[in-house]
Amino acid sequence: MTDAFHLDEALVTRARTAAESIADDIQQHIDAHTTDSTERATLRLLGVVGVNEIDVPLVNVVVEHAHPLLGGGVTAPFVDLMLQTGQGAQEVAEGVAGGALALAPVPTERRVGVEKRAAELAREGVAAIDAVRRRREELVATSGEPLRPYVYVIVATGDIHEDVLQAKAAARAGADVVAVIRTTAQSLLDYVPYGLTTEGFGGTYATQENFRLMREGLDEVGAEVGRYIRLCNYASGLCMPEIAYMGSIERLDMMLNDCMYGIIFRNINMRRTFVDQYLARLLNARAGIIINTGEDNYLTTADAFSKGYTVIASDFINEAFALRANLEKWQMGIGHAFEIDPATPDQVVYQIADAQLVRQLFPEASPKYMPPTKYMPGDIFQGHVIDAMFNFTGIFTGQDVMLLGMLTEALHTPLLQDRYASIRNAKYIFEACRHLRDEVTFKPGGIMETRANDVLAKAVDQLEEVEDMGLFEALSRGEFADVVRDPDGGRGAEGVFGRDDDYFNPFFAELREGRMSGPPTGPPPGNSVAQGKGAS
């Protein structure tokens, strides 16, 4: 839009300053701790795969053994065993799991050698991720890059083979991104299931083999339709960094990867999630994956009209954490949603105001716009019309990723034909209105510009309040989505460990440095072990 909203730039600056300060505070907690899943992801990066005889992933078994040593990280004792035995990572993991080998503190005289070898292994592990990213670039160049906004649909059959079939049909109908919804409650599993799966509830297990199968299917159909089809999954829950690793190796292109979603909506312990999201995001950053943040969820719980500002405040917080994890701005799929009650007079006027505000506040990001869900009726005809207004709002405000609404949202997970109808709806509107945005200007001081500035001002107030009290306290007061969380409560708290002075994990530095598309733009990761006010 040539002449968009006139926003109070001082407010924008204050919002970012507050968000930076909020994230810096939490980063002190992050830099002072590690977690079970962080250490398990590290073992995966070192090359450990597979499960034991009772289907427990080997990385879980080894990290469990390493618990007494976790203050120093699993890497040094593990690499020491590799050097002492002359075995590879997988053999050592099997040895530890089988009881033939035991992890022990590294004697001082071997420390230098261990760190040197570990640094080499970190380079190799990260080089494997870089190779996958280069492969994506090649395929995008040969298959073709879709026009923005990306048409994003979900599949959710529970059976990976049916998912692949439906994903291919969706791509042929015009989808650019396919997300495989995860089975209910996978986010609360403290391990990643293994192998291909054909049963799930409300979705399909996120496993490395399922990732691979879907990737293969989408590459096939991408070559057929002449567009690179992107694959999305969920680096969220108790295994955030492990799933991010799996995605980086199996060439996922997008990951839901919010810094606070698990805390608010899955009651995962906040000390755990903030540490986990950091390595997960470093991996996504390196792998060239676009992360999606989950602010749409706030509006399914809280009221979209009166609490719209919480979305903006959280978007700024997600951006600040993302910058600290080395993500580039184009990799930030900043979340927002079309959830104002359709019975509200001027509903679409306000939705456009809110969506345009996100677009302007995050001009270099790839905002992901989420469709109406809360007020979708069982009357699919009316639902299709509401979705059309969502599609219109998306193209008119220049969103990058449109998760399409389904006319049957209120009824069931999408049928093949629902997805088809929904994609037709979106493609028609996107093409019919493609340049409308360039042709009109907003009325200065009108309903929309006033709404945008009002939402921004409230977001700034909230951010500054959160800055004052600290993010942990804010989450315990229900500042987001009206959900109250106890810093000591929630799942996974037992998997958080204070880092000792000699904590060692070469992957953090390796992931952070030498990024593929130029030097880091965000603030440097903290090295402080001091406790911040939010981390007390």
């Binding site: 529970g158 049909a169 809280a302 809360k374 093949l416």
Partner: protein
């Protein structure tokens, strides 16, 4: 009196269809759809749309007529008869008949991670302009959220001496909701406390008859409002007080 679908003339029996067949589009695809509808007993089939939406799937939009009718008076079932009261009348009824707050505990149980249903009924702000149960001064309502094991829900209900338990089940794939709902009933019965609670379930695939079949006192389907649930609870508690 027998009724039939009304298109634009009484008894014309017109019905609208959309469906997908797992066959690729070909010149005979329209006839495949037409004959399929005829096999179902429809006649005067008009195929409005017949499109290959994938090499192996064809999508149809069609109209057809039926001669089948139904007599509404012969439809009988176990329907929930609730006189929907207003917020003030509900509070007044509880105060008058119970003389204390009505204690309610609610949760989305077991694997179900969706709070949307239980939140709509219980949370302060409610849904569609209706306050949630937490707002009612004569209710002591606790929304435990999602993924609450049956054992934890029961423990909490006993600790709080609850009058009513509200259960939400949103996910229904492979009938997981039936397993979860049955588990709760079995637990309550095994502990010998089933009769202590008014037991209510809600969800997109729930209706009253189905809820009764599973052993619940009432079931609320899609589009149920906090007022309907609150009215039922107040009236059921009053009814039980009469019986006692």
């Amino acid at each position: 009196m027998i009724v039939r679908p009304y298109g634009d003339t009484r008894d014309d029996g017109v019905i609208q269809f959309s469906f997908t067949l797992p066959v690729g589009y070909s010149v005979k695809a329209p006839d495949i759809g037409k004959q399929f509808l005829e096999k179902l007993g429809f006649h005067s089939v008009a195929i409005g749309e017949c499109t290959g939406i994938d090499p192996s799937f064809t999508f149809y939009v069609a109209y057809a007529r039926t001669d089948v009718g139904i007599d509404p008076d012969e439809v009988k079932g176990d329907y929930l008869e609730v006189e929907v009261m207003d917020y003030y009348a509900i509070n007044a009824l509880i105060e008058k008949r119970l003389g204390r707050k009505l204690v309610v505990v609610g949760a989305a149980i077991e694997s179900d991670a969706h709070t949307v249903g239980i939140d709509a009924i219980m949370n302060m702000k409610g849904f569609a302009g209706n306050y949630g149960l937490e707002r009612y001064p004569q209710m002591d309502a606790l929304n435990m959220g999602s993924q609450i094991p049956c054992e934890q829900l029961l423990r909490t209900a006993l600790e709080r001496n609850a009058d009513a338990i509200l259960v939400s089940q949103i996910v229904t794939q492979k009938n997981i909701h039936v397993q979860n709902l049955t588990k709760l009933i079995e637990l309550l019965e095994a502990e010998g406390v089933r009769e202590r609670f008014v037991l209510v379930v809600g969800g997109p695939r729930i209706n009253n008859a189905f809820a009764k079949e599973l052993g619940y006192d009432a079931g609320f389907g899609p589009r149920s409002t906090p007022l309907e649930v609150a009215s039922f609870l107040a009236q059921e508690i009053a009814r039980r007080a009469d019986e006692a």
